[in-house]
């Protein structure tokens, strides 16, 4: 279907504006096959909207974006999507099994039992994230970390070659952050899947990121971490002095709001 050379994502002058305010203006970018792209930016910079455009849920204001060479469309089986964390009603009669199952066949109409292959595939996805153990419990009563691993399994169960992740580390403690990053980067490295990873903190993904797309105040910059997350680039983007410090292998950005500490942390994620 797609020639090897077709990039998973190609944006050409893509602009998204709400009421004359451009979230990002003439974004031009080619994401390579197997690349791990982190998307950073303050709240309201249009990070989630970028994912929604790629999923076919949000039309562009102008310009073009192509996913595997075609305009974005809903229901593209090659895409996996981890939506932003959202609290789940503890009384909701939905188990991890059901949640991951939706990722595989939730879109199919009609009734009928699952095939053995489908069931095995769901079990494999649960195993991949280590969620099999609690897959029978109501999802609303699991910890944030357990729920998030189920979301990862839901996104991976169909075997996507392009994985879109919206703040998958939000509301997770360090232990679970590491686990989720490991699972996603594993999918990236071993299966050659392309990953677009929206985050407000670059540090948990610093070792696995290929390039960073920074969205801020309608402007954008893309490139390797040490080119984009510099005092110079950030100061230009924000139009104000920004400092970048390196501390024990972590990046600390001073003077720029990358949207951190906004939703931290309604829900602690205790160890299982």
């Amino acid at each position: 279907m797609t020639a090897d050379g077709t990039p998973p994502i190609a944006a050409d002058g893509a602009t998204l504006a709400f009421e004359d305010r451009a979230l990002w203006d003439r974004l031009t970018l080619e994401v390579r096959r197997g690349e791990f792209l982190a998307v950073l930016g303050p709240n309201g910079a249009g990070k989630t909207s970028l994912l929604r455009v790629l999923l076919g849920l949000q039309p562009l204001s102008s310009g073009a974006i192509r996913v595997w060479g075609a305009p974005p469309r809903r229901g593209n089986r090659r895409l996996g999507y981890i939506a932003q964390y959202r609290a789940i009603d503890p009384d909701l009669p939905i188990r991890g099994w059901d949640m991951v199952g939706f990722g595989l066949d939730g879109h199919r109409f009609g009734i009928g039992p699952r095939t053995r292959e489908d069931t095995a595939q769901i079990a494999a996805a649960l195993d991949l994230v280590g969620a099999r153990r609690y897959a029978g419990a109501p999802v609303g009563r699991l910890s944030g970390g357990e729920q998030q691993r189920l979301r990862v399994a839901q996104a991976l169960v169909g075997g996507p070659t392009l994985l879109l992740c919206d703040e998958p580390l939000q509301s997770l403690d360090l232990h679970y952050q590491r686990l989720v990053v490991e699972q996603i980067s594993d999918w990236n490295r071993r299966r050659g899947a392309t990953v677009v990873f929206v985050t407000h903190d670059i540090n948990p993904v610093l070792p696995v990121v290929d390039r960073v797309l920074l969205l801020a105040l309608g402007r954008w910059a893309v490139g390797p971490v040490n080119e984009v997350l510099t005092a110079e680039t950030l100061s230009r983007l924000y139009g104000a002095p920004v400092e970048v410090l390196r501390h024990h292998g972590r990046l600390v950005i001073l003077g720029a709001d990358l949207g951190a500490h906004e939703h931290l942390d309604e829900r602690a994620a205790p160890l299982p």
């Binding site: 809903r74 229901g75 909701l92 009669p93 099999r132 153990r133």
Partner: protein, 289 residues
């Protein structure tokens, strides 16, 4: 007393009751999943107005009931109305619908009887034709639900991800409202407008306390609805007291019993989840209750 069982009206009541219980019990888990009890009540109230209007105009109340429910569902769907308890505008319009129904009935001479019948149910007065109509309407509702059940559940739980996966979330919501209108219109004939939730919500609520397996939730919900409806009719036949009372009493009893027995009540359900055979039981139809 036994001779009562030879009467047609008892057979009709039991048949209509059974059909209604199966339909209401099946649709109930979807209603609770989508938090739509307010919508059920709303549709029933508009159905009352439709039935009352039909009587005044000389049509059959059943046709008016079904027509009004269906039109209201289509309107709610088209407007994308969110039927939530908080919504003052919707609540006010629905209250007015009931007021309008009362006005219609007051224009009709047998006002009190008809109002009572529609509001509180009249399962012991259903005819052979009513039973056949219930079966046809109920069958249509179940067939439609079978087609949309899986994507509907997905869309109910995670509309954003479902939409990204290609589920037509908005259309499903409208289709489900129409299916709900069918179910509500036949349920009203058994328990009435005011007791509609006793068959549409309560058995589903009880079933969810007993199991988390999606198929079993529906099965238990249907069984509880059947028990409450048929049991209620039998009690009514023996005592000459209103069937709606017994149906709602049995239904509530089942709910309280389920809450009391609930294995899911345990703080996090992990005791069951820890069982190593989760996968095997899933394939065989689910985790034990």
């Amino acid at each position: 007393m036994n001779s009562l069982w030879h009467y047609d009206f008892v057979h009709h009541a039991l048949l209509a009751g059974a059909i209604t219980a199966v339909v209401a019990g099946t649709i109930g888990p979807f209603v609770t999943l989508r938090n739509m009890s307010f919508a059920v009540h709303g549709l029933a109230e508009v159905g009352f107005t439709g039935a009352a209007g039909a009587i005044v105009l000389g049509f059959s109340p059943e046709a008016g009931l079904l027509g009004a429910c269906f039109l209201a569902a289509a309107a709610f769907g088209a407007l994308g109305v969110r039927l939530r308890e908080r919504d003052v505008a919707i609540g006010s319009v629905l209250a007015f619908a009931i007021g309008l129904g009362v006005l219609f009935l007051s224009l009709y001479t047998r006002y009190a009887t008809e109002a009572f019948t529609i509001l509180f149910g009249s399962v012991l007065a259903v005819s052979r034709d009513d039973v056949i109509r219930s079966a046809a309407v109920g069958g249509a509702a179940l067939a439609a639900l079978a087609v949309i059940a899986r994507p509907l559940r997905f869309a109910s739980i995670d509309p954003e991800v479902a939409e990204a996966r290609g589920v037509p979330v908005r259309h499903l919501s409208t289709i489900f409202l129409l299916v709900l209108a069918l179910a509500v219109s036949i349920t009203i004939q058994v328990v009435g407008v005011l007791l509609i939730l006793t068959l549409v919500i309560t058995p589903a609520g009880a079933a969810q306390r007993l199991t988390l397996h999606p198929g079993r939730i529906i099965l238990y919900s249907v069984l509880i609805a059947l028990g409450a409806t048929l049991g209620g009719i039998v009690c009514a036949v023996y005592t000459s007291l209103p069937p709606s009372f017994f149906v709602s009493a049995l239904s509530l009893g089942a709910y309280l019993g389920a809450r009391w027995l609930s294995p899911i009540q345990r703080r996090d359900g992990r005791a069951e989840a820890l069982r190593p055979d989760v996968v095997r039981t899933e394939r065989n139809g689910g985790r034990g209750a």
